[in-house]
Symmetry: D2
Subunit: 390 residues, 4 copies
């Protein structure tokens, strides 16, 4: 086991933090009520709009993404409200549990954890709901536990076809900044996100982008709240300040990370992720293994979940990869535990880092005695070369 | 105006972050489910016990201190519960407002913002409460807005004398790690804190230390909660993990900050703060100005609030100090706005930094045309020399 | 003894390195033959010209300032050459010793270490030198060991009045970037400098700015050289590269430091140093102590050397200041050992840092039982206030 | 072209600097004459002995490795001395030129840049030298320009067999800390090194380890010197200090880098380099290309130089690799320009980083239209797996 050299952090988040971002955070704290802070605050709040592709407000919390889930619920829903959710994987299930704890009645459309939200079911369910009892459709854009991306724009169109007033609440914790996502254009009402994935920051910031309609809902819903309250945030945000002490150094990092995303260009960032994801899937196919996601139009650009051959433990494999090659891969969660492993290829990832990672998987499969064909790495190189020429 | 050289951040928090802590945070993120993280998690959770002076659990949230206020309320109280609070200043008032938003009925004992909680009133109020309707006594240990420290051990004794079962919930956001505080010995049920003051970290972590009694209360209270739920935290904490992605890099910093506090020794840390605070008060007296805190046994070791002479605006003075001497002082908050300024002398502060700061105040008083006697700086040096010999 | 908080590094160099500069250096090394390096190289070589106030080349060595002394000698002089030097202090004496080791015949004008180079003596010596045997006049601009600044522009005029062809070689190791210095305007032939003083960098870079005349001399002199050879440097420098591996990360820092100097403005930087130096001398006078420098027109803006009262050991005093107040002061060197201490007020120094330092001196004099009057700190504040209004 | 993510710096030095080392350097400068510095100085001087595998002194210069070449010459040789050198490549040629500039008469044994020093020729040349005119045998241990390592222990035995008193002077600039090297056991008189290769530091430090015999020679040789003089260094070094301002922050890094090497264990460090080098050669063979080094016992563990197929320009290939895959490879130098490229696998390099690098070479060969077989990457994985099991 060698521990010299760079650890390969290939989990689907937290993703590696670029040196520029780490260094930006490694600066003295400033007075959160002084003029210099106001400039910082306005910059990051404005910059977030570009990344969320919205003209509306984005609220930044000192919290995990889970906190932003909670913020979304307590600001828009009322006790006893009915919502429509979809069992796309582990995180959709957790969000559902949270909603239940807040007294929300969840209609949870079952799923096999290998496909995204079916827009036709959305439309059907909403069309059935004559009484307009459903207050929100809650969707996880990129299921971090499965590597499946739901087609949010199509979900929006399904809601529109049903002519239903439900809010569209979308979790982009693991997609924002890596997969194309358009808050305004896609008619999303609340976009939930976190700092530690496509935004290339350490964990510690939660986000909610808010439509006019969501904000209006927040004025009449009845869940108790204080820390997460949007109005309390939006007032001082207007001048770049916060109602309580913000996580200043993470905001330094956020400023730098947004600058990096915009320097590369969002379309280029998204294309890079698609290229890396395609190469990863080519490798999986090359090994003769199976990608968990069943629907090509829903392949995640952020991570690829790989199904282990029957009778082989994904966690034993992952342990060998960690011990022998100093690489962290993502575990199967909940009902997928031991049955899959996940390769993250998001954020500050490039071709050669991915190739190092895929080489580690190929050598690890060999070391763990997992039946596979050699040649995944070769296939990935072919994919990358083709992607570049194309 | 000169902007070269070190900015003097003399607000009562966020306090300056030591280089060692900043650099500890400036390291790559690791897998929050991997073995290396478990070691980190156990270390910081254990280290927190030493700093809170407790054998019981300390819960760490990715949040501001305000979040830890909310966590305390939602884990221990029920809608309609009655609590006893004290108007010691701005932050006590904010905590009361938060409690009210959660449907708590607050008996708010009025105060003049120049004294701490009166233990005799605590005893009297609880003695009157024959029906044991009061579920908690909620106290701010160090009022950051006023520089007044309440005598928590005496409050505990007052509760005991009244033989009352109310929980004792204490905010130590600006005192922990700077002023002596003993969760177990003083019989505190929940101790609330934050990262950005005596712990010498950037903002972004909230803490609650929890007594057995508080934990028992959390099992029967009825407020909805998910993000802040103690039980969800304590289960994975047992192995050093967290139920949702923790703020990894702030935890790196926390490990280093705890190490620094324990290297210096908590008694030495507290004595240093007392010495710096005494010198600051000597300076205020030397200038012929008035310390806001009226009760010597309640002088804060963390910050000193100074009353401006009638007819002079504290904020205009602060602006001159910022522009001319690149020093941030704390503003008067709420009803003290413009009437006081606050000098922070907490965390990573030593004698010469304090002397630089006090020199800046003395020169600033002159520059702003505030009537004062020269000689505050001289008096502070005398105080420091005496404190050292004593 | 407290070791928490910022150490006060008040020696006359190495001076404190700004966070911006440290962080700029804390970045990955790049290929020193790649295109990105060429950009960096051209930027710093160009930026140096601004700081040295020259249109000609500045050569940057991975070395201490001592190395740049050697570079100057071996590039311009020949074995047996005669030069004129002045005993202004310890460093002038060291440079003389180095010249002697290279076989240079030094005429060393004696001095009392309390005054700078006397331009009249320069003129007289050169006028006497009918045979033009003197090849160079070698002057230390700011004597770091004494706090005396020689008047280089007047030395130049003296050489001109004598109509003598000697080169003017000037050591600005401790003055460049803190005291006004003009390579071209003052007709200097070689300006020697180092990174760790006014340039606010860690030690590790040496510099020589070179006039046409000096470069011409380098083509005909006869001292053996390789590492220090100007021509070897200047060829690749034209494109931003170096003949051997340069100290890349120090160059990152140099780029940032030059940016900081130019952002503040060189005239403002020099005025700030004058203001801080005046305040320091006011403090010394306030204590009833003596500044070592005897000639007001030669007071150093970089450091102030203070004469200890008879019978008191400056080093014992310095040790107490270090132990009690965590401040480093400069020692007396060589024949001044124990008799003086030196206060650095250069580079990243501002008013409040200086006041912290002077407070430490005043408290230290008291702690060490050195006879003095109180009030130096007060006098310094008066000086700073006056300097600001003036 | 993608510039997001980690640049692959696969030149044979400067090598990537570990985060731990960068962060250790990113700390405030201290007084180079104070007690804290003495501790640092003693630690790094002592630590260097472990790395050079010597009980004798190691001198550390603020300089490049080139400076340490010069230090070796000026401390041990006299003008007109005769030395024996070997044309093993570009750097041996440069060292010879430097010796010539210092008036040393070099007998330069010609070579084809594909083999190391032939111990038999050493023996023969010395045996011929009846008059003992040859004062030193000067050898480059690892030729950075060719990837050939000379067998220093065998050279020593050849000198001994000839019973010749010549000094053995060895350049380990690119081998120390990566390839096994034993100053004492191998009877080396001066070992020259630099910071930016196996020591995993930024450039800026030069080293000479010195035998008793070399030191004795330095007392009687006649080359002028001051900056490089050993005796000047060794006196203050005894207490951990330096005769002129040392490069403090690089010394912080050196302390950390030595700690890392000793934590991993020198034998493990050397074995890791051998494993990575073998995998690289397997890849080259897999591509059907040729390793420049002709003698298997002289393969470098530090870098591998690859011969380009006739009619293909190595620099055009390298440019494509840099543009398309953000990887820096080493150029062919001097007479090898355009004919080879060099892959560095030294210092902070591990298996997956190497695999990323080799993937970049394989894709780059394709992109540049260089005739090759696919499968080098596959062969490297096979080699690494075998090396691990073995």
């Amino acid at each position: 086991m060698s521990r010299t050299g760079r650890h390969f952090l290939q989990i689907p988040g937290p993703s590696p933090v670029p040196e520029r971002v780490l260094r930006a955070m490694d600066m003295p704290v400033i007075d959160h009520r002084g003029p210099e802070f106001g400039v910082l605050g306005r910059e990051v709040l404005e910059g977030c709009r570009a990344v969320f592709q919205t003209m509306g407000p984005v609220v930044i919390y000192p919290s995990s993404g889970t906190g932003a889930w909670e913020a979304t619920i307590v600001n828009t829903l009322s006790s006893g409200d009915r919502v429509l959710m979809f069992e796309t994987g582990h995180f959709a299930t957790l969000w559902r549990q949270m909603a239940a704890r807040w007294g929300i009645e969840v209609e949870f459309v079952p799923g096999d954890w290998r496909r995204g939200v079916d827009p036709e079911i959305v439309e059907a369910k909403l069309a059935e709901d004559r009484s307009r009892a459903i207050k929100a459709v809650m969707v996880v854009h990129n299921e971090t536990s499965t590597g499946v991306t739901s087609r949010v724009a199509e979900v929006r169109r399904a809601i529109d076809r049903a002519n239903h007033p439900a809010l569209l609440l979308v979790d982009t914790i693991s997609s924002l900044g890596s997969a194309d996502f358009r808050h305004d254009e896609w008619g999303v009402d609340v976009t939930v996100s976190g700092s530690q994935k496509g935004l290339m920051l350490p964990p510690g910031l939660g986000f909610t982008a808010i439509s006019e309609k969501a904000r209006a809902a927040s004025r009449i819903n009845n869940l108790p709240r204080s820390y997460w309250d949007w109005e309390e945030m939006l007032k001082p945000n207007a001048n770049g300040y916060f109602p309580y002490t913000p996580a200043t150094n993470l905001l330094y990092g956020l400023r730098e990370a947004i600058a990096m995303l915009l320097e590369e260009g969002l379309p280029e960032v998204f294309a890079r992720h698609q290229r890396l994801a395609a190469a990863t899937r080519a490798a999986v196919q090359g090994w003769g293994l199976e990608v968990l996601c069943r629907e090509p139009s829903e392949y995640s650009p952020v991570l690829t979940a790989v199904v282990m051959p029957e009778g082989h433990d994904a966690d034993a494999f992952r342990r060998i990869v960690l011990d022998d090659f100093d690489m962290s891969l993502g575990a199967g969660l909940s009902k997928l535990a031991g049955r899959i492993f996940r390769i993250g290829h998001l954020g500050e990832c490039n071709e050669l880092t991915l190739m190092g990672a895929l080489s580690g998987v190929e050598m690890g499969l060999d070391a763990a005695g997992v039946p596979h064909q050699r040649g995944g790495v070769l296939a990935a190189m072919t994919s990358l070369r083709a992607g570049r020429d194309g």
